[in-house]
């Protein structure tokens, strides 16, 4: 260790390279070489370690995408003959067909069994998009208004109310679910969109997050706007919302993602047909639909490739979303503790 330690103020040999390293001086060229070699080795180790873990992260995705595109017969044959391959070649010799096909996806979207049980991902998609869209708008409107009141207005009991709301964030959702489940039943909201949209529509966390952003807007702006004849709500609409729009977009995205991934609550209150009537359409959301795809034992659906295709169908929109809004999502998530 001591031999390769760079020493300052002894200008004998100067290490060239990055701007940072150029500040280092070494007693002899040998020391410099040793230091450089060490730097290279540590770089290699660093990248090797990261690559290994990156592969660990990526394998499920690669496996998922490849398997969803595999020909089910070829896949089963590979498994039976213990010649499993993560990335098989294009052509399968045994069946004289391509190893890859889109049949699994077609099956997921169009499957109808003889026993009448259907898996209808098209419908699950529409349900999820509708619920996610409406509940996000609802969440945003309530959160913006409430955050505005907490950040901009003064009223009696403001701090007390805010403290109570913050305290409820500590309480596990299960405590609320027990009563909410009965409430939904007695309101006859079972298997309706209302149960999916309104019960968890208002989020204390988003109110809290937005309030912080609103508070950063200088008070002078409000005074200036007031001189121009703006009232409180006009000021909110014309000044605060535009300034806080990055936060609002982040909240919208997180809310949409949350709605897309919801499983527990939808499974409890909306796993049947609309208004619980046999003639109604299925109220299932994608996660729920996927679970029923996995528990369904119909031969057409019980193949692994079809099930994995279902998983791809559930995840793909999220991925597209992520690629478009990467910046907003990563910034929003690093400030929040939601999900797990």
């Amino acid at each position: 260790m001591a031999t390769a330690t760079p020493i300052r103020n002894r200008p004998t040999v100067k290490a060239s390279g990055t701007a940072h390293e150029s500040d280092l001086y070494f007693a002899t060229p040998a020391q410099m070489r040793a230091y450089k070699a060490k730097a290279i080795i540590s770089k290699v180790l660093l990248y090797g370690f990261l690559s290994l873990l990156a592969i660990f992260m990526l394998i499920p995705f690669i496996f998922m995408i490849v398997t969803s595109l595999r020909n089910p017969d070829c896949y089963d044959w590979d498994i039976a003959t213990k010649t499993f391959n993560l990335l098989p070649s294009w052509w399968n010799q045994k069946y004289n067909t391509s190893n890859y096909t889109l049949d699994n996806f077609i099956q997921v979207f169009t499957y109808k069994s003889n026993s009448g049980s259907t898996i209808n991902f098209g419908l699950y998609y529409l349900n999820t998009i509708y619920v996610a869209g409406v509940s996000t708008v609802f969440t945003l409107v309530t959160a913006v208004l409430a955050a505005f009141a907490f950040a901009r207005c003064n009223f009696k009991g403001k701090n007390l109310l805010f403290t109570i709301l913050l305290a409820t964030m500590m309480i596990p959702g299960e405590m609320m679910v027990i009563t909410n489940f009965q409430t939904v039943k007695s309101l006859q909201w079972e298997n309706t969109y209302a149960a999916l949209i309104f019960v968890h529509g208002v989020s204390v966390f988003y109110i809290f997050y937005l309030r912080q952003t609103f508070q950063q807007i200088p008070n002078e702006l409000f005074l200036a706007a007031k001189v121009d004849g703006y009232g409180h709500f006009k000021y909110l609409w014309k000044v605060m919302i535009p300034i806080a729009s990055p936060t609002i977009v982040t909240i919208a995205i997180l809310s949409l993602m949350g709605a897309w991934n919801a499983y527990i609550w939808p499974n409890l209150v909306a796993s049947g047909n609309f208004h619980s009537q046999s003639s109604g359409w299925s109220m299932k959301l994608v996660s729920n639909g996927l679970m029923s795809l996995f528990t369904n034992s119909d031969t057409g659906l019980s193949r692994d490739t079809v099930r994995i295709a279902g998983s791809v169908v559930c995840t793909a929109p999220l991925f597209v979303f992520f690629l478009i809004f990467r910046k907003y999502i990563m910034r929003g998530v690093s400030r929040s503790g939601i999900k797990g």
């Binding site: 873990l53 992260m57 309530t142 968890h200 409180h232």
Partner: protein, 368 residues
């Protein structure tokens, strides 16, 4: 607190007027003088109802408050009360979800077997073998998965922070598990961990000469189930931790590292003496949220077994039932609502205790 002081300070520059009608309005000087001149001229302005600031605040708050009150505050109190009620069921048309009304209805209904008040639900939950089993499972999952995820996450974040080329790429890759559907990827893991030689993971083990194992199927050993649960928990949870650690690392002043390098400190010393202490607020935050999250784990587990909402593996399908899983399962039995409520309150107490202990420990260790 600081914020409030600042606000009042900046508001000090404004004029505040109190009118005889009791409306206290804060107005700019311009507006106020306009009003004053008009009143001295004797011109009576059209009586327009003006809502004060507090009124506007309440108007803005009402939409959120109604729903929070109805679907959050009331359920918390109601569930708490319910946890002290034994032998009662929710009857249609007797007070909706309001536990007290249902309880009274049950008291007046001779067919219902003596509903009573007391700590019976807590006694039953805490002496229920299945609850204790679910608690043990949850504690095992928490104790193994949380430290592992945090340590690996911290390592990845530190490595990621020290590289320049490809940093963005790696960061995106490590973030990917966050933007996935937990159910969908759990099922992918289920298929990766298929029995025999069919599974990808068994094929991987084969490379090292390890025999194929049963992982998640009905007869699989419970510890094999556990292994998969831990792997999936780490995979699923690490993205968030890396992101938070990365944002913490980038806020540490570079000068500390330069100073340490000049003093000839080793990498390990730098990590232990600079990185960890300066990252301690983020580590505390992550520790608390991970403990809470892991104590509530449920979705990851049922998604791995893929048998619906109440399948936790094993022949009796409760190999790895968690506390939350226990609550959902007994909720299905309408006569055990009180017990489910008691169990959820026990969960709340556990979570509060853990958080308090961590806060107490952090007072000594965390550097702000």
């Amino acid at each position: 607190m600081e914020k409030t002081a600042l606000e009042t300070n900046s508001q000090g520059g404004r004029f505040s007027f109190s009118y005889a009608n009791g409306l206290s309005l804060e107005e700019t000087e311009k507006e106020a003088s306009f009003r004053r001149t008009h009143s001295t001229l004797g011109v009576k302005k059209a009586s327009k109802i003006r809502i004060g600031e507090a009124g506007k605040a309440w108007i803005a708050l009402i939409p959120a408050l109604i729903f929070l009150l109805f679907f959050m505050i009331y359920p918390i109190l109601n569930t708490f009360i319910m946890s002290f009620m034994e032998n009662f069921t929710f009857v249609k048309g007797s007070g909706g979800s309001f536990a007290i009304a249902n309880f009274i209805a049950a008291l007046n209904n001779p067919r219902v077997t003596n509903p009573s008040l007391g700590f019976g639900n807590y006694v039953r939950v805490l002496s229920d073998e299945q609850f204790l089993f679910s608690l043990r499972n949850t504690v095992l999952i928490v104790v193994v998965s949380v430290p592992l995820t945090i340590i690996v996450g911290l390592l990845i974040a530190v490595c990621l922070h020290s590289i320049k080329p490809l940093q963005g790429f790696f960061q995106t890759v490590f973030f990917l598990p966050y933007v996935t559907n937990a159910i969908a990827l759990g099922m992918v893991f289920k298929i990766i961990f298929t029995d025999g030689d069919a599974g990808l993971f068994n094929a991987f083990l084969h490379l090292f000469g390890i025999e194929a194992q049963q992982w998640l199927s009905v007869g699989a050993p419970a510890w094999n189930n556990f292994f998969v649960i831990i792997i999936y928990s780490i995979w699923n949870g690490i993205a968030f931790k890396i992101l938070v650690f990365m944002s913490g690392l980038s806020s540490i002043d570079k000068q500390y590292y330069d100073a340490a390098k000049i003093d000839g400190a080793s990498r390990a010393t730098i990590f232990r003496r600079i990185t960890v202490p300066l990252l301690s607020p983020q580590i505390l935050y992550i520790t608390i949220t991970s403990f809470i999250g892991a104590f509530k784990s449920y979705t990851q587990i049922i998604s791995l077994f893929g048998g619906g909402a109440y399948d936790f593996g094993g022949t009796k399908k409760d190999n790895w039932i968690t506390v939350v899983g226990y609550i959902y399962r007994i909720m299905q039995d309408s006569t055990k609502n009180g017990r489910a409520a008691a169990a959820s309150f026990v969960l709340l107490i556990i979570i509060l205790l853990i958080t308090l202990v961590q806060m107490a420990v952090s007072k000594k260790k965390v550097v702000y």
